[in-house]
């Protein structure tokens, strides 16, 4: 089973982010990098109203755990955690939060970037955008 470092959450992410960030501590950590992806009001020139995220939850968590384990191994990280929202999200809400703890900044930046890039390639989560003009689309592929 997974390591539990990657979690799909069907509720506002903010309190989960606070708790996750608080736990990321180590006397050997000189660098803590965070990436937070948020819902923005525009995509490829179209005004966005809101999003829905859907996930294949057990596989997203196991595949996400693999991504985080790879990042820890490749970049020599002290820890790496990811929270990903599902359900209905409004403009400005966090959709994904990645926290990476490392000895030095090269590793924390590199590891954090690796995690978001891999999630966008292979973790089974899908985004449906609802536009101001009343249409909606499943986004196919990484943004």
């Amino acid at each position: 089973m997974g390591t539990g470092r990657f979690r799909i959450i069907d509720a506002a992410l903010a309190p989960h982010i606070t708790r996750a960030a608080t736990r990321m501590e180590s006397a050997a950590a000189g660098a803590f990098s965070v990436f937070e992806g948020r819902v923005r009001n525009e995509h490829r020139g179209r005004a966005v109203l809101r999003l829905d995220y859907q996930a294949y939850v057990p596989m997203a968590e196991s595949e996400g755990d693999k991504v985080l384990a790879e990042a820890i191994e490749r970049f020599g990280l002290l820890d790496a955690v990811c929270l990903h929202r599902v359900g209905r999200l409004e403009i400005g809400e966090p959709a994904v939060w990645i926290g990476v703890l490392a000895g030095h900044r090269d590793a924390s930046f590199g590891g954090c970037r690796y995690v978001i890039d891999e999630i966008k390639q292979r973790v089974p989560i899908w985004k449906r955008e609802y536009y101001m003009d009343g249409e909606s689309d499943w986004i196919q592929g990484a943004g």
């Binding site: 859907q54 294949y56 196991s62 089974p124 899908w126 985004k127 499943w138 986004i139 196919q140």
Partner: protein, 79 residues
């Protein structure tokens, strides 16, 4: 054999269900997909999908076994 099929994103919209139990003879995921595509008319061809068997990415041509859980994975857009 009986396969549990999960649908996501535009495939869920086409099938109208989140999952269904499907009876099929011996075969692989590509044959399962063709059988279901004929019924549901998915918006995405098989070439644009990946397949997962029991929550792991798998080869389209690995033989399925009774009770497997199969998901067709459209291009992902999380993050």
């Amino acid at each position: 054999m009986r396969i549990e099929v999960l649908y996501f994103a535009s495939l869920r919209d086409a099938s109208g269900v989140e999952q269904e139990s499907v009876e099929m003879p011996e075969g692989d995921a590509s044959q399962l997909f063709d059988q279901l595509n004929a019924r549901h008319g998915f918006a995405l061809p098989r070439e644009r999908l990946r397949v997962a068997v029991n929550s792991e990415f798998a080869d389209w041509h690995r033989p399925l076994t009774d009770g497997d859980e199969v998901a067709f994975i459209p291009p992902v857009s999380g993050g």
